[in-house]
Symmetry: C2
Subunit: 281 residues, 2 copies
């Protein structure tokens, strides 16, 4: 058992003290989900290896009863194994593969594209000693372009990124959490991406009335409001301009993959449309 019910978490922080890394955010949510307290070791990108006594170049890392555990997925698996009587993070061997595919989709669809919109704020909000490192590594990552040049045109990209999140909205229309009736580590992985977004967005990324908002708000409120750090920005408030794509689909298909056939009444309208008739005809 963790001494005093507390594990040590090596954080990766902005100057505000808010967590910058989505992977550390996922671990924070996971630790809180298990009902454990956190002793936070603060710091930014600079000096991780020194801070952890040569244990790692990446965070999160936790220390529990003197044992070091690295890597956000490994930490979640460790917590389930060490504390099986507490709320489960990954309840079935089928959770991880599907969750990883959904998370990879979210990175490809939104996190990567949002990065091209928020890199300047990402650097400016980092702790002062990280500025040079963040600038150099992210410029290398983006083919040597300057951060100020990479974000140019973001007002035209943000509406498209929002529109592209429809697959996720579809799931959350039908399900309260990715975990079903209560959140699991799949929710934590996805929420962590939006917590990352809130940590770097100096202009909103999603519409005020985005259907994702209900899940995001409930997720940020979890475990006593763990996602309500004052250093985070409001991610909602993007306005749709003339010529922008709809920021989200206001008329989702009634007969999608997740609709259920409960008999002739449930499909008669679709059948009529398929036959080119007006519904009810």
């Amino acid at each position: 058992m963790a001494a005093n019910n507390t594990v040590t978490l090596y954080d990766l922080q902005l100057a505000s003290g808010a967590t910058i890394s989505p992977f550390v955010w996922a671990t924070k949510l996971a630790i809180a989900h298990k009902g454990l307290d956190m002793e936070i070791v603060p710091g930014g990108f600079t000096g991780i290896e020194e801070r952890t006594g040569g244990k790692t170049q990446r965070l999160p890392a936790i220390v529990d009863d003197g044992e070091w555990i690295l890597d956000s997925w490994t930490i979640a698996e460790y917590l389930d194994e060490k504390y099986p009587d507490r709320p489960t993070l990954i309840g079935d061997p089928g959770i991880r593969p599907s969750a990883q595919m959904n998370e990879a989709w979210l990175w490809q669809t939104a996190v990567g594209p949002w990065m091209t919109c928020y890199l300047v704020a990402y650097r400016d909000r980092s702790v002062p000693e990280d500025h040079e490192y963040v600038t150099a590594t992210r410029e290398t990552m983006f083919g040597g372009r300057k951060l100020e040049d990479i974000i140019v045109g973001r007002e035209d990209r943000l509406p498209r990124i929002s529109a592209d999140l429809e697959l996720m909205r579809g799931v959350l229309r039908e399900n309260k959490w990715f975990g079903g009736d209560s959140p699991n580590y799949a929710d934590h992985r996805m929420l962590a991406c939006f917590l990352w977004l809130a940590s770097v967005c100096d202009t909103p990324a999603l519409a005020e009335d985005d259907p994702l908002r209900d899940w995001i708000d409930r997720g940020f409120d979890l475990y006593g409001g763990i996602g309500r750090h004052p250093g985070l920005s409001n991610i909602f408030g993007l306005k749709q301009r003339a010529g922008d794509p709809d920021l989200f689909n206001r008329n989702p298909m009634a007969n999608g993959l997740t609709s259920r056939n409960t008999g002739v009444k449930s499909t008669a309208g679709e059948t009529a449309r398929m036959k080119g008739q007006k519904a009810g005809a």
Copy 2:
């Protein structure tokens, strides 16, 4: 308990007797996974409502001990509830949301686009009494265009569809099944889309050496080779032409979302690249 260990399945068939519907394929895999036998009621799109005594316009439908169950997801949930001591289909409330998101991604990325390539074969392979219905409903679905016109240019679309499946390849590089070490209903839903593909593809959709092939072959072989109906076509054999995108990524990123930080050695190469140094420098 099902009489004689058998449930009645209302199939949706092509003239060859192979199943055409991905939803019926998912149900066939689910019934076999539970170790139950199937009594197949044959037929195509024409006359479903008459065949089922007015119970439904859509298939699959099953009858088990006199009870009708409609809808592929409802059938899977019913089978788990009725036969809890047999292999589980959906083991955790978190399986369905993530599986539905992955399946919706597969429809958007591949099933829909493949439909525009194979609609003529889809019609021609259907049972004779379905030809008129399939032609009319699918032409309505595609804005009134003729099936023969819709498939034009498919040789240019097929390479792009294959290239776009990388998210799924990433998961299956790291996991044997979506269910983990053994298949679950998430595998059945995804496999059903490839079984549908095999039922309609009159020219290959994927490269001979596609990394998805291992999972697809193992999936088609499940439950005594349930996916090896002689009416199905070989989906592999697409050739990459000059100017085509790579049909799959031959050099997937070593440090992706699913890689694990096991200490400094596991990240040193990536760290060097981020700093613009040669690895090992």
